[in-house]
Symmetry: C2
Subunit: 232 residues, 2 copies
Amino acid sequence: MGIDWDAIPYFRGIDPCGLKRIQAAGRQHVYQAGATIFNEGEACAGFYIVLDGLVRIYRMNAEGRLHTLSLLRPLSTFNEVAAVDGGPNPFNAVAVTSAETLVISHDRLLNLMASERALLSNTVQALAHLNREYIERLEDMTFRSIPSRLAKLFLHESTAYADQIAEAPTQLTQEEIAAILGTTREVVGRALRGLLNAGLLKKRGRHIYIADRRGLEWLAETNTMPERVLNR
Amino acid sequence: MGIDWDAIPYFRGIDPCGLKRIQAAGRQHVYQAGATIFNEGEACAGFYIVLDGLVRIYRMNAEGRLHTLSLLRPLSTFNEVAAVDGGPNPFNAVAVTSAETLVISHDRLLNLMASERALLSNTVQALAHLNREYIERLEDMTFRSIPSRLAKLFLHESTAYADQIAEAPTQLTQEEIAAILGTTREVVGRALRGLLNAGLLKKRGRHIYIADRRGLEWLAETNTMPERVLNR
DNA sequence: CGCTTTCTGGAACTTTTGTTGGATTGAGTA
DNA sequence: TACTCAATCCAACAAAAGTTCCAGAAAGCG
């Protein structure tokens, strides 16, 4: 099956010939659910493209608590940093579901960047974008409370799927959410209860829906619970 | 006065002719102590090189608490992310002391990168490096306690100046340290007292010295106070 | 279906961090 | 020297986050 290269920012504007060389430089890998893709600190594993499945990028502290930096779906890329500078992998990667990836080694990536001008400048753009994301997350961790980060997560996940009023990151367990926010399950449960009580979220059966988008936005931005606005 | 271009990673390996063109593309700016260089969210201010003085890169939350992302000395660079993607500045920059900078606008930087191959690939490396730093700081914020972050800061600052056993970031006020760690002055004071009591740091007059490097490293890595090792 | 496993709800408690406010020190300056 | 301003110290308190524990609910499976 062909890959939709244009859906991956790194490969935009590269001619078919170049794409062929890139594909030839890559190796495909299949992972079972739960399989480790690579570990933090190990020698550079190369540049990865998720072709199928779900991949978790995470870090773990000494006590075993883990922080999910991202959950990646197909056509997302990861480990660009190590792939580019050849240093050790900056985080762990694991296949959440069974997954398939395309890997380009550090050496080959450098070669490709040397011959494909567009790849090089796309990489600059992509790295800049990544940087912005990290700065944002860093500020979330320093300035925002957990309810606020949770609100942000709901807003983000809901718009990611569709702009419907009601969608929500409901397939995520509290454990997963905790790992994303960098806290523990209990705390997430408490915060979730808080948002439900405040009327920002609503539960129907298993699923949680956004009840008050404005309120969530307020909470996400200001870190304070919105005054109970009962105008609806 | 000439600039030591080789001391700036971005410009390594560029021939004198290219350096001349780069310098020609830059504009020099002088700032008084306390002057704002640019603000977060504003249109891209370009690529900055600190030529003289001390520059603070920071973010601020709604309540006015500020988070110092870095304090930059001469020949450091900043705002590369916005300069490269042309987006809004991701943080604020202010001259702490009177300062001098060289600025290259987004447009000109793109032109230079188009003609100077080495600049382009150096930028990829530099952005990757920046990324690693942010990942590291993100993990510090998620996993480490304030005493632990403080220990890390002391270790980092002390080695930054010299590898002497006793140096310490003592010219920083508690207020400054608090902004770097993303907390408040009081908390820093308390943590500092804790490290002094634990015998990890020592105070002589105004200055604070590292008394037990091993202990600090332990604290920075494990987040737990080292058992009182009285073997000295 | 019954059993096991995973996920959730929620209370009670501890620890850490943030906040407030007053006392003290010390460097610089009139 | 006396005054002033900034930095520090420290205690007491408030709030947020982390921990422990147990009881139910739902999902998956033999």
